[in-house]
C-alpha cells in the first residue's frame, strides 16, 4: 500500500489541494486572530501619525501577488483616509499604480466612505509608475517632482495641490512599501533608509518575508506584514474586515493539507525503505 502511495498520481494531489482551498468558502467558522509583534509595530507607526501627515505608499507588485498584498493596501488606505492622512501613491512596478486604483475603488465602495469619499489631489495622488528601479528610490531623495514629472492621469506633477511643498523624503512622515520582489523592500531599505534615513514599514508577500526579518531586527525596517495572515491581522487592527480575513480559513486548510502530505509522504518513504532493506 505504501508503495502505491509513493507513486500517487500528482493530479490526485492537485485535487486534494483544490478541495482544501475551495471547501472553506462555504463554511463559516470563526478563528482566533493573534496579532504578531511585527504587524503591531507596522500599525503603531501609522498610529503615531497626526492627521494631515504625509504617507508615501509604493505599490511594487502585480496582479499575481494581489491576493496577499491588496487586502493590506485596502485596509491601510481605509485607515489613512479615515484618519485624514495624505496619501502619495507611486509604483516601481508598472502594474502597481493600477492596483492602487483598484484599492482606492474598493475604499470608495465601502459604506464608511459613502458620504465622504476620498478625493483626488485632496486626500491622495497617484504619481504612477517610473522605470529605473532603485534609481527611482534614490531620485526621490533629490526631487520627487522631477522623478515623476506627471501623475497617473497625465497632469503635470508640479501643478497638483498636494505636491506643493513636497520635494523629497524629508517631507514624508512614513513610507509604506507593498512589495512582491525586485524592486521592493530590499531596495527601499538600501536607498531610502540607508541614504536618506526615511522611516519605512513594509507589507510583503510571504515568500520574501523571511528575508526582511534581519532588517526588522536591526531597526532599518520599523514594521512588517508578511503574507495573507498578516493582511488579516492588519484588517483586524484597523477594524476593516476584507479579503484577508475572508481567506484565512482556506489558508488554514491549505497548510493542514500540506502538512498532512508531508507526514504521509514521509511515512510511506520510511515504511518502504525498511522493506527494501
Amino acid at each position: 500500500m505504501f508503495e502505491k502511495l509513493l507513486k500517487l498520481d500528482r493530479r490526485v494531489i492537485f485535487i486534494f489541494i483544490a478541495v482544501a482551498l475551495i471547501t472553506p468558502f462555504f463554511l463559516d467558522i470563526k478563528q482566533p486572530m493573534t496579532v504578531s509583534p511585527e504587524v503591531r509595530s507596522l500599525y503603531d507607526e501609522f498610529e503615531k501619525l497626526k492627521p494631515g501627515s504625509k504617507v508615501l505608499i509604493s505599490f511594487d507588485y502585480d496582479p499575481p501577488s494581489a491576493p496577499e498584498l491588496q487586502p493590506m493596501a485596502v485596509a491601510m488606505l481605509k485607515y489613512c483616509f479615515a484618519k485624514d492622512l495624505k496619501v502619495y501613491i507611486i509604483g516601481l512596478w508598472p502594474q502597481g499604480p493600477l492596483q492602487a486604483n483598484l484599492a482606492v475603488e474598493a475604499v470608495k465602495a465601502d459604506e464608511h466612505f459613502k458620504d465622504d469619499p476620498p478625493q483626488y489631489d485632496v486626500d491622495y495622488v497617484n504619481l504612477g509608475f517610473m522605470s529605473g528601479n532603485e534609481v527611482v528610490i534614490k531620485s526621490i531623495g533629490s526631487d520627487i517632482r522631477r522623478t515623476f514629472p506627471r501623475d497617473n492621469l497625465g497632469n503635470p506633477t508640479h501643478e497638483l495641490e498636494m505636491m506643493k511643498g513636497v520635494t523629497n523624503y524629508s517631507n514624508f512622515d512614513l513610507i509604506f512599501n507593498l512589495s512582491a520582489g525586485y524592486p521592493g523592500t530590499v531596495e527601499w531599505v538600501l536607498f531610502a533608509v540607508g541614504r536618506f534615513n526615511a522611516k519605512l514599514v513594509a507589507g510583503n508577500t510571504a515568500v520574501q518575508s523571511p528575508g526582511m526579518y534581519p532588517y526588522l531586527n536591526s531597526g532599518q525596517l520599523l514594521g512588517l506584514a508578511g503574507g495573507l495572515k498578516a493582511a488579516a491581522e492588519l484588517e483586524d487592527l484597523a477594524q476593516y474586515y476584507g479579503r484577508g480575513t475572508k481567506f484565512m480559513l482556506s489558508q488554514s486548510f491549505a497548510h493542514l493539507t500540506i502538512i498532512l502530505f508531508i507526514i504521509i509522504g514521509n511515512l510511506a518513504y520510511f515504511a518502504t525503505r525498511g522493506r527494501n532493506r
Binding site: 522631477r146 534581519p214 488579516a232
Partner: protein
Amino acid sequence: MRREIPLILTAFVGFTYILQFFIPHAPFNQLDRMLNEWIQVIAAFAIWLGALNLMKVSLNKVSRQSENWPFALITIFGFLLTVIVGLFLSGGRGYQSPGTGFDYIYRNIYAPLSSTMFATLAFYVGSASYRAFRARTKEATMLLLAAFFVMLGRVPIGDYITAFLPKGYRLSDFATWIMNYPQTAGYRAIMIGIALGIVSMSLRIILGIERSHLGGEE
C-alpha cells in the same frame, strides 16, 4: 574602441555614484541627478528592446512557419491589440483611468492570465511537499520541523490547536520566535555573505576586471 569606450563608461559612471555617496555636493550631486534621469530613460528603452525582440522572434517564427507558429501569431495579436488600444484608443495620457480600453485589457485579460500563471505554482508546491520533503538526515529533519511550526503558527488554526496553553506560549508565538531569532540569524549570515559578494563584484566591474557583460571578443 568597441570595448575600451564601454569600459571607460562603466568606470566613470560607477565612480561617480560612489563619490556622490561620500561627497554629496557640486559637481557630484548635479552629475548624479543627471545620470539618474538618463538611467531611467535607458531602462525604458531596455524594456522596449525586450518587447520588440519578442516581436522579432515571433514574426520570424510566423514567416518561416516553424513549429507552433500559430501561437506566435496569437502573441503578435496580443501585443498589437494592447499597444493599439493603449496608445491610440485610451484617451492619451489618461490611458490608465478606470473605464478606458487599456484598463479593460489590464483587468480582464492581463490580470487573470498573469495571476493564474503564478497561482498554479501552489499545486506544484503541494506535489513537491509530498514527494521530496523527506526527513532523511538530522539537518533535513530540522528543516522539516521549522517548516512545520511556521506553517502551523502562521495560520489561526495553530492557535486554535494550542488554545489550552497560556498566551505567549502558543504556536503563533513559537513561529514568531523562530522568525525573529534563529531564522533572522541564519538569514543575516546569508545576507552578509551576499552583500560582500556584491561589493567585490561591483568593484571588479568598475575596475574593468569583470567584463562578461560586454559579451564575447569582437
